[in-house]
Symmetry: C2
Subunit: 732 residues, 2 copies
């Protein structure tokens, strides 16, 4: 009899996470929101953000409805898919959207309160901002595990999970809720990213560059839109994004576990399935403990603050590393030491990538300082050097991931180099669980990540409410800190996307087997025997479909995959470019036509700018997102399994590297500007500053629109292929 | 008895090419070089260029000596390599360097003469420039085929080419001369690219942007260095580059032919080997005919000129398409219609990619015009839009190559979808011969390509010699035309690199088999029998080494390969950035310290700038080039065959797409600037112009340093792997 107790434990952990999220939310809401002006501005931003999110969810709802109907037809009309797929898909989208919504709601309530708390002391500001970030972190992990646990419990009522085949079916079905999450995340990232960067670029170009007024100045018509953008892009977008990463990693690993232990019977299989969930569950509890350790002395400076945040994260990481061995031992899973080591490999790889990201993008280190120095020769050399920096910065993360792939593979299969079917399945499970390890601290890393935009908005609020400059100084310290933690967070997001992408690639093979079972196909296995497709091993499928590097279809797929990353970035970059130009035109128009804005005698028409960003984001997000969904479908239909595998590996390899490049170039440009603003190289309003502002502006869509969307693209293409596997098999 | 007559025919064609190159060279030398000032300036540039090339060849000679000794040790000490390898390697490097040297020598003699001819009429200017370009085109193809034919004849004296095994040995040995050519080409492209762009960026930033003096103004201290740079980068670099592409495609196809027809006996094999050489040989003759068709009426405008050039190229293309069927029919090769179709597929794909490149980079079309319009909102939006444009522009070329891969594969194997060993070998041969088809018109396309920098330099000469402005206007027309043909040429170079890269990937497998033979290894083939490694088929090798997409080693290799493209670009971008900053500092210093330069009363110190570029290029080119050579060696030693294959496909897919992106973004930025300079959007010295100058400056290293080097990188990594295959096999 299968043991479901661990699943109930996972469910409990998810409820605990949501409970603490609620507690932190209530604590934050009790804080004072400050003066009437502050309240007013916070309300403007909140309303703008909510209005946008509603609009966006309307568009996304249509896409979801169409896709769900399509899946229903495949499931009920053609019987090439599991009947639960349309529902799983919808819940994934719903929960992902919910995570973004709650995070954003919290953030928009928290920013005014953070500004007010910061007017008392830095430490108070940190506490409000960080605890509000924790609401987001815990909501994401809580909703993620909740969805996973509830689905598993529901499906266990309909399938006899004491049979190995049922467990494979259940876990692969649940993967489709990952597709819902990925689809939602892509729209959120792309739409939010376009919104925020159109507003940001527009506000900066006309405000800072042309009229020399500071950031977040109330005279700038785009300033409210800019602050709204931080919420819809950096908060709601990021929430949906990491929800997707988190669930994707756990679900893919569970599916690989079901397959790897297929021959060992349902009991061992179930252990492999719950292992990633348990690691995530324990990660939640330890993250909550970590969150409570974040506190500073009243007179803390930047260094102490960073130390305090790092302490929280590192504390959680070390605890998880230890706890992993304990869980695996108690779970009594085969090769528990090896599998625990795979988890640790992922955890360590994440930390290394985070550190490398910080090294390349923080202005405490030479690369960004050198980048700033290149501003002495103007904007062109800033761009050249920034592109160079970003490209170089790909080396360490890629090598780290390369080593992590091999190590986690070998740890999990007991250093079996044979590439037998069993060694392969076990090893791939190891890669998946390494991704889970990397994301196990998400509760707290996301808290340190999400608090950044809250502090940023708090600064905006302080500036617009014309509070004492010391408040802005304090929120700037919090914001700068947020930049560093955000860089680390991005490293985790990208690294885990690469590992999860590989796990999904392996899950695709599982889904192909199920598809072969659905259509009742027999295949010739590697030993030359004719067997049921559903009984095939990974090497059988690989051989049957010639998924090797000399098959021109695989090579073609790889080219198209590599192109997809660039095409997608090109589309989103251009979207930001177009939207920003509209914003610039509008801001210029207001300065020209509404007399007295610059003297502070007339109020700009904020709502017009909000409207431009909203419309542009709505319009521009649809095409790139649809391309991401449709291309894998077409490749599957035309080129078959080998083409899809080529597409996925091409997209994964180039998308991963491109994402690091774009994120790090963008981050370094941002901080090079901050370095100059801190008084180096001539400081504010020097020529060098102008040059770095150009770099920062270019970096905006790099790091906040195109770059992060790539993480989702990589996984969404796999998810789409997985869901479409049944149809692909039928045709090929 | 094997029939060597076709090889003698190939040799004859190569001699004809060199003969015509010599004739055109003599014709050009007979032209008048103009006034003493013009002669003086041409001499400055020539001497600077020659001095640089000597320096560069010294450094490269050391690298070649070290590598040749290394290969000699592998061949004579460890017996893991053919004894001819070190010599073949050296001749490849020598001839590649020679092609660059002759092309550059011609160009530096031609530029003054072109300026002088243009002072008489546009048509005369075109004739001198274009015929001089033809010297380069014919030298490259002539030397390439000469090297190939002579090596084949020499080796046929030492091996009994009536046996299939000997033909495989001969053709794979010859591949190593491709590695020599690639190594030389990489140094030439990287060194030349850094030289030219350091000078160009430096000259533009201080001259145009800061002091508002025109391009090529004699008051600018960096102007001679800039003109020298055009020669060492765009002429010598491009010559070595395309020499490498040309030989690589032919040699890889010959090796695949030897393997594909292995079972059919030496006679059929030899036909498959000479087929690509014959196509190339006929291409030479038809290119020469095409070159003679390029002439215009005396009062011709830009449109007529372009028509005239296109006519030459199209005429040659159509003739080659027809001739291919005839050659293949006369050669009586198996499936002659199918193989001819593969050639045509390559030819057509090249034309489509060329057209797409023109569409995205010429300011006659909307994309570049829109890019120019984004200048209204400053340099940041120019950069964002240019990056977006370049990324979007990857779609058509990639899809074209994807279709070309599948079609040329299927045409050559008679639409055999079975993926049997035979179908695979034949199909891969088809992909190789498609690359040869794409490059068959190289004699004339390179002429239209190489004439651009000559016209550019002629303009520089006219400006510095203060000739009548009408001369500069005429050379500008020629130069603008050169930009368009250069874009098309780049499309060919990139497209053929992708196809050749795939052919080299297949050749790598051949080399692995030979390596297995060397060490006397037996392997289990796909039918489960134990056979000699040397007798294995492609599927046997694939299965033996698990070169499939579920092998984590392959996946790891793919990640590293994708990273290599970015790392390499990052290194070269940074090199240009650093060198340009030095140049800017020097030009500023001269303006500051040498009184009267800007008033034209004092002569700037040109030689100091030449020295800076030379030193920077020498210093900066070594590290990226060594990385490109060493990484594949390390991957081979550590990860084995599967890792290398992953590395190559990852590098190929992402490098191909990245190269298109960088070339097209750079080209579009250049032409967006020209569009503004033609009087649109406010024309010269408007804010929009300044913004497009920033774009152009950023685009310089994109399109002339990092982008084109990627084509070589892709192939060099394969070549290194091929040469190191013996050692890899010994260890794995």
């Amino acid at each position: 009899m299968a043991n479901l107790i661990p699943i109930w434990g996972v469910l409990a952990a998810s409820v605990v996470a949501l409970l603490f999220a609620f507690i932190f939310y209530r604590q934050m809401m009790k804080e004072d929101e400050g003066t009437p002006t502050m309240k007013q501005i916070a309300k403007y931003v909140r309303n703008g953000a909510m209005a946008y999110l509603k609009q966006q969810y309307k568009v996304v709802a249509i896409v979801f409805a169409v896709l769900a109907i399509f899946f229903a037809i495949l499931a009920y009309g053609f019987h090439v898919q599991n009947p639960w797929v349309p529902f799983a898909f919808l819940t994934g989208g719903l929960f992902s959207g919910l995570a973004g919504f709650i995070g954003m709601k919290t953030a928009t309530y928290a920013s005014g309160r953070t500004a007010n708390a910061a007017s008392k002391s830095l430490n108070k500001g940190l506490k409000v901002a960080f605890r509000s970030g924790a609401v987001m972190g815990l909501t994401v992990v809580g909703l993620g595990l909740l969805d996973i646990a509830v689905w598993f419990l529901i499906l266990s009522c309909f399938y006899d999970i004491n049979t190995p085949q049922a467990l494979v079916t259940v876990t692969t079905t649940m993967l489709t809720f990952g597709m819902g999450a990925s689809t939602q995340a892509l729209f959120a990232r792309v739409g939010g990213g376009i919104y925020t960067k159109a507003a940001d670029v527009g506000a900066d170009l006309v405000g800072k560059v042309e009229n020399d007024i500071p950031e977040d100045d109330p005279r700038n018509p785009a300033t409210i839109a800019d602050n709204v953008g931080d919420n819809v892009g950096d908060v709601a977008g990021m929430g949906a994004d990491l929800y997707e990463s988190y669930c994707g990693a756990i679900l893919a690993t569970a599916a690989l576990g079901a397959s790897a232990y297929f021959q060992s019977g349902a009991e061992l299989q179930l252990k492999a399935i719950v292992a990633p969930m348990l690691i995530a569950a324990v990660g939640i509890i330890l993250s909550i403990i970590g969150i409570f350790t974040v506190r500073t002395k009243e007179d803390a400076g930047m260094k102490e603050l960073l130390k305090s945040l790092s302490l929280g994260t590192n504390f959680s990481s070390v605890l998880i590393a230890g706890a992993t061995f304990l869980i695996m031992y108690l779970l009594n899973i085969d090769n528990w030491i090896g599998i625990s080591c795979s988890v640790i490999v992922g955890l360590v790889a994440g930390v290394i990538i985070g550190q490398a990201t910080e090294y390349y993008t923080s202005h405490s280190y030479r690369p960004t300082q050198k980048l700033a120095e290149s501003a002495a020769t103007g904007p062109a050399t800033v761009i050249i050097s920034g592109v160079g920096l970003g490209m170089l910065s790909t080396a360490i993360p890629v090598i780290t991931i390369a080593v992590a792939i091999i190590l986690s593979f070998l740890c999990a299969n007991g250093f079996d180099f044979s590439m037998s079917a069993e060694a392969l399945s076990m090893g791939l499970y190891g890669i998946g669980i390494a991704a889970v390890g990397m994301l196990s601290t998400l509760g707290i890393t996301l808290a340190t990540d999400a608090y950044g935009p809250i502090a940023d908005n708090a600064g905006g609020n302080a500036q617009m409410s014309e509070l004492d400059p010391v408040v802005r100084e304090r929120t700037d310290i919090l914001d700068a800190l947020g930049n560093t933690t955000a860089a680390t967070g991005k490293g985790f997001a990208i690294g885990s996307a690469a590992l999860t992408g590989l796990a999904l690639l392996a899950s695709y093979i599982e889904e192909i087997k199920i598809g072969l079972g659905h259509v009742g196909r027999t295949i010739t296995n590697v030993s030359g025997e004719i067997i049921d497709g559903a009984q095939a091993t990974i090497p059988d499928i690989i051989a049957y479909y010639n998924v090797d590097l000399m098959n021109p279809v695989v090579l073609t797929g790889a080219f198209i995959g590599a192109m997809m990353s660039f095409l997608f970035c090109g589309l989103t970059m251009n979207a930001v470019g177009r939207a920003a130009q509209k914003m610039v035109a509008e801001v210029r128009r207001q300065f020209r036509e509404i007399k007295g804005i610059l003297e502070g005698k007339a109020t700009p028409d904020y709502s017009r700018c909000v409207e431009i960003s909203t419309k542009a984001a709505q319009k521009e997000m649809v095409f790139p997102s649809l391309v991401a969904i449709i291309v894998p479908i077409i490749v599957g239909l035309v080129l078959g399994v080998a083409g899809v595998m080529g597409l996925l590996i091409g997209g994964l390899a180039s998308g991963f590297v491109l994402a690091i490049f774009m994120a790090n170039s963008g981050g370094a440009w941002d901080n090079a500007k901050k370095y100059v603003e801190e008084g180096h190289l001539g400081g504010n309003s020097s020529e060098a500053h102008k040059a770095t502002v150009v770099g920062d502006t270019v970096g905006d869509p790099f790091k906040d629109t195109s770059g992060p969307s790539l993480n989702i693209l990589i996984k969404l293409m796999s998810m789409v292929s997985i869901v479409m596997a049944g149809l692909t098999v039928m045709l090929h």
